[in-house]
Symmetry: none
Subunit: 199 residues, 4 copies
Amino acid sequence: MATGRPGRTRSEKSWQAILEATRDELAAQGYDRLSIDRIATAAGVGKQTVYRWYPSKSSLVAECILRGYVVTPGIDILETGSVRDDIAAWLEAFAAGSRSPGGAALIRAGTAAAAEDEEVAARYAEVTKKTEDALVERLETGIAAGQLPAETPAATLAEALVGALLFKVVARQEISPQFISDLLNLVFTKESLHPEESV
Amino acid sequence: MATGRPGRTRSEKSWQAILEATRDELAAQGYDRLSIDRIATAAGVGKQTVYRWYPSKSSLVAECILRGYVVTPGIDILETGSVRDDIAAWLEAFAAGSRSPGGAALIRAGTAAAAEDEEVAARYAEVTKKTEDALVERLETGIAAGQLPAETPAATLAEALVGALLFKVVARQEISPQFISDLLNLVFTKESLHPEESV
Amino acid sequence: MATGRPGRTRSEKSWQAILEATRDELAAQGYDRLSIDRIATAAGVGKQTVYRWYPSKSSLVAECILRGYVVTPGIDILETGSVRDDIAAWLEAFAAGSRSPGGAALIRAGTAAAAEDEEVAARYAEVTKKTEDALVERLETGIAAGQLPAETPAATLAEALVGALLFKVVARQEISPQFISDLLNLVFTKESLHPEESV
Amino acid sequence: MATGRPGRTRSEKSWQAILEATRDELAAQGYDRLSIDRIATAAGVGKQTVYRWYPSKSSLVAECILRGYVVTPGIDILETGSVRDDIAAWLEAFAAGSRSPGGAALIRAGTAAAAEDEEVAARYAEVTKKTEDALVERLETGIAAGQLPAETPAATLAEALVGALLFKVVARQEISPQFISDLLNLVFTKESLHPEESV
DNA sequence: AAGTAAACGAGACGGTACGTCCTGTCTTCGC
DNA sequence: GCGAAGACAGGACGTACCGTCTCGTTTACTT
């Protein structure tokens, strides 16, 4: 695979080691305690190599987020026939992820990074958008199946759900079964077309 | 104001100058670019004075947040008779606040701080809780007035609304009238007791 | 010992540790392999403390030289009655110093530093001047005693002697007894008033 | 010009460009601020090509010195009949060289390099030796002509003269006509066989 | 003419050191 | 005795070079 450019080709291996080290540091230390020195050492790489790939701490983190190393609120949403069940499964999957060892730490670090830096925010939004799109798709199937009111604003609903969950993680509150159940009740109101509901 | 102790009393003025300088730095630089050195200089205060009041960057920011210097999603919620109108007014007030010059920057800095530090997260939750409580109160008045279903989980709804809004700010997306309108439609479903709504 | 200035007083101890560490590094590594990092670590001092005292590697070395940590071609010149014997003793003392473990290394490092940096050169000249002055004083006593021609240009002679010796050290050549003896014969020529000479 | 070996022949042009770039850097920056990177770039050459010719900064400088790019204290010594006049001419030529723009800078850089590195010192000594040999030759002619005492130690005298001059350059002092005149008076004492001298 | 191999320019690699900034602590003076 | 001023040890920053190691290309010698 010729590059056409002179000089040694950039090391794919170093690049991956950098991203992995960054993820580990993010989970262990959070965003503002990240140290490029430490990342480079952990990755077995010169500091200059880190800077050759990414000009700043924030763009490095942005890349990690974009590549799903950090915030991946599970894109896979089931399609079992019941929208409510599928959304419930997704909520529980997210809650489970946020309870895993580094899970919440990574989400918090990523959110902090997004809150502090415009570029990171853009990547963060890109990634959450994917989840929201998957949610929207499932919600619209539900609308088509008559399981949700026709005028449900799916995109906004998806955004609100993601926001609510991330907020819980940032505020360091547990995403309890009760919370999930309440959210479901809000989305699928009594008046909705899914009358068998109970908390 | 005699303290009964010998020696010079701690300067209230210094203390305020510190908090104000911190707020300004937070708005201008964000959380991880905060510098105690700069804060002390800007406040015209010795570094030790800062540390005398607050043992760390995070607890200083925690205090700023707690005292409403940073994230204040307007606690005052109207009671005009229509829950929907009152919630709409609150949403719009928040949106307006997030569009003001330092408004979004402060919210983002505070959120980043909360995401990175447990103590800050606790204060952050304390502050958002006040807003949520006010929302809950208004929602329950609405329920009592029959403007919302009896089984509406007010606390969770309040949390989700706050989360959704903060997420928009972090992701650097505008809180559009459409978004607000959609949120209202989600809360006050067509089948709800407020049928005259339209986007 | 009041300084009149606020703030912590500069640590005399740190300062001495820095100079000693510098001297050790100079002897061990030479001038251009000096590392401020290493000096600071060896002195048990923060790098900033080094820079607070000296703005650059060269001014640090300049100070070391000036304080006699580096090039001290023995100022003490005897006054036994015979100029020739006294100068011979001094030459031999210098030769001995240049043969001691770190002796030659320090002289070379200091000379390299002087050759590369104007400020160091000034201090270097200051120090060698002291030796030259002592030599001149002794030579003039000798002239007065009729042991040297009246018109001997003592200052230039002193400078030439110092230069010749330093050159030998830089060129990494031994200062042999023969060389010393030859120098003496040049200064105290056969025609001079010290007729008992033999190589 | 067949080499008998396969592969591209080493580029004479690159080699010269390297030496010239090194000399320019030495004159402009001194020895310890030399940068192989900069030399390679200035010479329009890959860094590896520099290292192919010379394994280190010091051996590169050693070569420059040896090839007379750096320290050339003028070998050509006249033979007019008067030793004193010829030595005087040489001293003045050296003084003139040390006053030329890059002249003193190159001498200082070379001396610094010699003081810091054994290999460079060896080449430096080789080059100064040539000058000393030429001086010795002229001095011995003078001795034979009866213009200097028979027992004059020519080699040591030559070494001392070179050392005295280089020391002046390193110490950044001008080689004044007075200094030259004094040196001559020392070598050719009043009692010597050239009595018509006066300052 | 095709093949082999060394040297070329370019430039990325793992590292070390730079000089600056900041942290949290300690110390000295002035109010 | 508090508070500003500021020095302290320590650690991270982003940059500059070190000497090495590929790249793709050019040039010479060998088949």
